[in-house]
């Protein structure tokens, strides 16, 4: 069955009067089948009946957290690089004073700000 025939078949499955059993059978003949891993049943029974039960959601939560951490870390690194570039372009160097927003020259306005005089 070529791609256009597959597409027609899929679309026809949403006609109210289509024999959907026949559609799913044809698709399975075309190799469209879904299975879990070969030891799926054992995994389910282990989760249900083994003493050291690990809650599925916890594992999943850890997976999500790893994914989230990866995203956040990448975003953070990108932000730091942009910040460094912008400081360099604005201040002309990457000295401590540049980071603090202070120029190398003495600025008496800072003294005034700190001392109040």
């Amino acid at each position: 069955m070529d791609a256009s025939e597959i597409k027609k078949l899929i679309i026809s499955s949403l006609n109210a009067d289509t024999n959907t059993v026949e559609v799913s059978r044809k698709l399975e003949e075309e190799g469209i089948s879904y299975n879990f891993s070969h030891n799926f049943g054992d995994k389910v029974l282990n989760k249900l009946f083994s003493a050291g039960l690990t809650i599925n959601r916890e594992v999943e939560f850890v997976k999500y957290m790893n994914f989230a951490f990866y995203r956040i870390a990448l975003t953070g690194v990108a932000a730091i690089i942009v910040l460094l570039i912008s400081i360099f372009l604005m201040q002309g160097s990457l000295s401590l004073n540049s980071f603090l927003g202070l120029s190398d020259s003495y600025d008496e306005s800072i003294v005034c700000l700190l001392t109040g005089n």
Binding site: M1, D2, A3, I6, K7, I10, I11, S13, L14, N15, A16, T18, T20, V21, E22, V23, S24, R25, L27, E30, G31, I32, S33, Y34, N35, F36, S37, F40, G41, D42, K43, V44, L45, N46, K47, L48, F49, N56, V59, E60, K63, Y64, F67, A68, R71
Partner: protein, 186 residues
């Protein structure tokens, strides 16, 4: 762990045996219905690493709620309802979680591995089906999964999704419209 063959063939007897603590009887239920659950879960979520976890959760939920099964509907319908609810909840949860990040991340979660098919033609067919499914709105995707992969009638689809038949019929035509638009681009 699961026995190769089980002597109980009737569904209600299997359920009773499970309720009496027969682990092998539950193993038989898992054996009988795992393919059906795989079609729903993987059809809806794609063949991702999370789909199998949800599949396991379906049977764990079934085990814990088996005492509530009154036998008015078929066991397959009961399992299918659990599978649909858990899958739709998972989609909602993913949407909430990944909306905090980027659309790219969301798409990455939907990536699926194409099963090892024998021919190029069948691989292409799988790609079309999977891409079409994942591109659809979840409320239409579930209708397509029930019809195309499970082979359910309109009445059966309505029963499993707890929707009036009129609603299913209206979703069928809207889903078909969306599907046509998606398939044109594939």
């Amino acid at each position: 762990m699961i026995k190769e063959s089980y002597n109980i063939t009737e569904e209600d007897e299997l359920v009773k045996a499970c309720l009496n603590g027969d682990k092998n009887a539950f193993g038989e239920i898992v054996n009988r219905y795992q393919k059906m659950v795989a079609r729903t879960v993987k059809g809806m979520l794609g063949d991702s690493v999370f789909a199998e976890d949800i599949g396991q959760e379906v049977f764990i939920n079934l085990y814990h709620s088996l005492s509530e099964f009154r036998g008015e509907a078929k066991l397959s319908t009961y399992i299918q309802k659990i599978a649909v609810n858990l899958t739709l909840n998972e989609i909602k949860r993913r949407k909430r979680f990944f909306s905090m990040f980027s659309q790219k991340a969301n798409n990455e979660m939907h990536e699926f591995e194409i099963a090892d098919h024998n021919s190029e033609e069948s691989r292409e067919a799988s790609e079309i089906v999977n891409k079409a499914l994942l591109a659809m709105d979840p409320k239409f995707r579930i209708i397509l999964t029930m019809r195309m992969l499970q082979g359910y009638s309109t009445k059966e689809t309505a029963e499993i999704l707890d929707l009036p038949i009129g609603t299913v019929l209206s979703r069928l035509s809207r889903a078909q419209e969306q599907l046509r638009n998606i398939l044109v681009k594939l």
